[in-house]
């Protein structure tokens, strides 16, 4: 029960993009380097993000990616739903030989549906901008502190 690398890498890469795009677009090579992610793999992740209109691309030399909308309008929910293929914990079939099974339905309504709801409620209200701001805040505090 874990989020896959697609979701994890994708979110990190988008925050990196949001934070490092000063007006213009950013190449995947640079994101891959900063985030220590395989370029080939990132390309696949960004192909998905592009098709979903979360990022837009400029081809050719000095090309790269940029956010398709302001960071404040890109919900984390959208990103994860796309990269994880429906970000929902479980979608149980409640039928049992053409008849509803009360045990299954009870578990579904009181557990799976509720989890999905809680998670989505939160992720619908968290945007890439929130993450970018948190990054900036951390970046101001961290540098001198945490070394191993």
């Amino acid at each position: 029960m874990k989020v896959s690398t697609k979701g994890r890498y994708g979110l990190r890469a988008l925050v990196d993009l949001a934070v490092n795009s000063t007006g213009t677009h950013v190449s995947l090579v640079s994101i891959a380097q900063r985030q220590k992610i395989s370029l080939n793999y990132l390309e696949q992740v960004f192909a998905t993000l592009r098709k979903a209109k979360i990022v837009k691309s400029v081809k050719g030399a000095q090309g790269g990616y940029s956010l398709a909308k302001p960071a404040s309008q890109i919900k984390v929910a959208d990103v994860l739903n796309i990269l994880e293929g429906e970000f929902c914990i479980v979608d149980e079939d409640v039928f049992d030989e053409d008849q509803i099974d009360a045990v299954r339905l009870a578990v579904k309504t009181l557990v799976w549906d509720q989890i999905n709801k809680k998670v989505n409620e939160y992720l619908m209200n968290t945007t890439l901008d929130d993450l970018a701001k948190e990054y900036e805040r951390l970046n101001g505090e961290l540098p001198d502190l945490y070394y191993i």
Copy 2:
């Protein structure tokens, strides 16, 4: 990003057990039949539940399983944590070559940690008894209604 059959079958089986244990213990065969789950597979799931002291067993003919505690004291969180091996969405390593990475940390604190918190908060306050009660309620309403 789905809960595995262990978690799904396990929860259903426990609700079935709670609902069908009239004082005494219940055989896995009967649970497997009602819930349409492979007996062999259920045995493995219940081995885990037994080691975690969620159910207790009586061996031999006419033996079976019963809840180790009142249903109202068995939290869904405990069940899922055990069956899914830490029911947490992601536990990202925030270090990057001995140094904290602000992007990873931002994503972790604002996304993964928050999701884990929301989900756990809810599941810590939902018990098998809640599920059993929901089952009874549904069972009173459903029978005549939903047929396909």
